[in-house]
């Protein structure tokens, strides 16, 4: 009833182009930002941050990255885990080599290094498409993990083969290492997520996004119109890998604290992020958030439900969790193949007219 376009007149193209054209959406967006920045940090504890917020935020960044490549530019990638590893190891090397530089820059530079690696592995996309490209990126996944395990220079010759995040501060607040407080972890992930989402939205609504989508929908027509396929595909790989690299760096430095390439950034990570993007909705910013939330929250909710409420033994619950999550994914994709974002879109279309059917 309040969700209406009526009366909300757009008198300039700037107004017409805005991300949330409906007043209630805009209000919701600002309230969500306010709550995320000014309310939640005062109440979070370690459990909430470590099992929900930090993984949700970091996976949302990775999902945004993959969504740009797969959802917007139409290039399938199974190398997300490998690219996250590049971000993590680049961040580690930078943190150790230049301790006097702020960690925020390290994360951003790690993203930049990942972008360069992503472009290098993206070059085959000029010749191959679809499943064949997926296999090529799969090669990147295995090669990168092998490289980080094999070459001791990457983990500074540590005996365990692990990388450990040293303690670093931002504005005097510890954000990495074991002494990090819950709210600091929460805040640094949130700031990066909001920044990444903002950039992703700007890129996808402008000409860059239209070029990507043109290549996705019909590459030959796009080229005849004037899209340079090399530049469009490479920029998609660069931006996507940049975001995935940031996610990898945060995953290692802020969330895990210690990481080993094969274990933390294996092929399962690639699939996890791909599932998020597919379940959330390809080619949608909101879908990246929804997909990450779904995949992070679902196991937590199920665990609390089965173990906490119904009193099942933990081992059985843990096994069942996989079955239920898997089943939900299948059911969900049959009901709505275009993901949570499409479901949300349909709900909004219905809401606009509610309580009238037409």
């Amino acid at each position: 009833m309040f969700y209406r376009e009526a009366g909300d007149f757009k008198t300039s193209y700037r107004d017409d182009n805005q991300t949330f054209p409906i007043r209630l959406d805009r209000a919701g967006y600002w309230i969500a930002l306010f709550v995320a920045f000014c309310v939640i940090p005062f109440f979070v504890n370690d459990y909430w941050v470590n099992s929900i917020f930090a993984p949700f935020f970091i996976y949302a960044i990775a999902a945004l990255g993959l969504n740009i490549l797969t959802g917007y530019a139409g290039q399938v990638s199974l190398g997300t885990g490998g690219f996250m590893a590049v971000g993590a190891y680049a961040c580690y090397k930078l943190m150790v080599a230049f301790p006097e530089i702020n960690i925020v820059f390290h994360v951003l530079i790690a993203g930049g290094i990942t972008a360069a690696v992503g472009v290098a592995f993206g070059l085959p996309s000029l010749r191959i498409k679809g499943f064949y490209l997926a296999v090529a990126t799969l090669a990147a996944q295995f090669f990168l993990v092998w490289l980080f395990n094999k070459v001791a220079w990457f983990y500074n010759y540590s005996a365990s083969g692990q990388i450990n995040a040293p303690e670093r501060t931002v504005f005097g607040v510890i954000v990495t290492g074991p002494n990090t407080e819950a709210w600091a972890k929460y805040m640094i992930c949130l700031v990066f997520l909001v920044g990444v989402a903002w950039v992703a939205r700007n890129l996808t609504r402008g000409m860059t996004g239209r070029k990507w989508m043109g290549i996705r929908d019909m590459d030959i027509a796009a080229e005849i119109i004037g899209v340079n396929p090399l530049m469009a595909k490479m920029s998609a790989f660069a931006v996507s890998s940049f975001f995935v690299g940031i996610a990898g760096a945060l995953f290692f430095a802020v969330y895990l604290g210690a990481a080993e390439a094969g274990e933390s950034f294996g092929i399962t990570k690639s699939f996890l992020v791909l599932f998020m993007v597919i379940i959330g909705g390809l080619g949608s910013i909101f879908g990246s958030f929804a997909g990450a939330a779904f995949m992070v929250l679902m196991p937590v909710v199920l665990k609390n439900l089965l173990v906490g409420t119904m009193g099942w033994p933990t081992e059985i619950a843990a096994e069942l969790e996989f079955i239920i999550v898997g089943g939900l994914i299948v059911i969900f994709l049959i009901l709505e193949p275009h993901g949570l974002a499409q479901l949300w879109r349909l709900t909004k279309e219905k809401l606009r007219l509610w309580p009238f059917p037409h």
Binding site: N17, V199, N202, M213, E223, I224, I225
Partner: protein, 274 residues
């Protein structure tokens, strides 16, 4: 009234000015392995005119259009555009020179809205870099708004205001054709190529489309080269017609000249071999 059609520029009977040659095709030959699709064809397109390419199925019309838009590379012959020989180019570079086209089978971006499709047509007018677009301040936003205005003019002109924000995949065929025309027109091309703009349309839709083509040419002075099968439409719309058959040019001239050309009549009606 007689007009000297070989002059540098002349005025047509309905008062439009036809300028000098924009596109000159010289002795084009295109082969696919052993098949010769185009055999030594030369013709030109002059500024401001509507130029039709006609011929029976398989005559090589679409191949000709693909040569002009840089999608096929002819084995022999030269393409001259605005007085200089065009070097080997990728299709997107040809587009940057000011060529736009539509396709026989609609080639729209189905997942995008009508507005986004049309905005994509203006990509050569926008040059904010990736960083400017990422922060969406200054140049990127300014360009977006300016080009939106230009797109709205095209949307008004083609009467598709009501479907501006509709995803193209949901539109019926006739409207898709119109949106594709809008995308090509939004590029403000110096030469617009239309590959069967009226294929599969009913009479009213054909009349609408004919009106748009004439108005485009009249109001914006757009030079148009089109392929079409509907003879009535071709003869009414075009200033000059090229007729192709089996990859060869068998006629070239005003609709009246072509209509009375014996080779053309033979090609269309058949000729007895006795």
């Amino acid at each position: 009234m007689t007009t000297d059609m070989n002059a540098d520029s002349y005025v047509t009977e309905d008062g439009r000015t036809i300028g000098p040659v924009v596109m000159d095709l010289k002795n084009i030959t295109l082969r696919f392995g052993g098949v010769v699709a185009i055999k030594d064809i030369s013709f030109n397109i002059r500024e401001g005119e509507i130029r039709a390419i006609i011929g029976p199925n398989g005559a090589g019309k679409s191949s000709m259009l693909n040569v002009i838009s840089g999608f096929y590379k002819p084995q022999e012959g030269e393409v001259w555009f605005r007085g200089s020989k065009r070097p080997q180019m990728k299709p997107y570079q040809v587009a940057q020179q000011g060529l736009a086209r539509t396709f026989q089978n609609i080639a729209l971006f189905e997942g995008m809205t009508v507005l986004d499709n049309i905005m994509t047509g203006r990509l050569n007018k926008m040059n904010a870099n990736l960083f400017q677009q990422a922060i969406w301040k200054g140049k990127a936003e300014k360009e977006e708004l300016e080009n939106r205005e230009a797109c709205e003019k095209v949307i008004d002109f083609l009467e598709i205001q009501h479907i501006r924000k509709t995803p193209v995949g949901r539109l019926p065929y006739g409207l898709k054709k119109r949106v594709e025309l809008a995308r090509a027109l939004a590029a403000e091309p110096s030469l617009l190529l239309l590959d069967e703009p009226m294929a599969g349309m009913n009479v009213e839709e054909k009349e609408d489309m004919s009106r748009f083509i004439l108005d485009m040419n009249d109001e914006f002075g757009t030079t148009i080269a089109l392929i079409e099968h509907d003879m009535g439409v071709v003869m009414d719309l075009s200033d000059r017609v090229v007729v192709m058959d089996y990859g060869k040019k068998i006629g070239d001239g005003t609709p009246d000249e072509v209509r009375n050309n014996q080779d053309v009549i033979d090609a269309y009606l058949g000729v007895s071999h006795d």
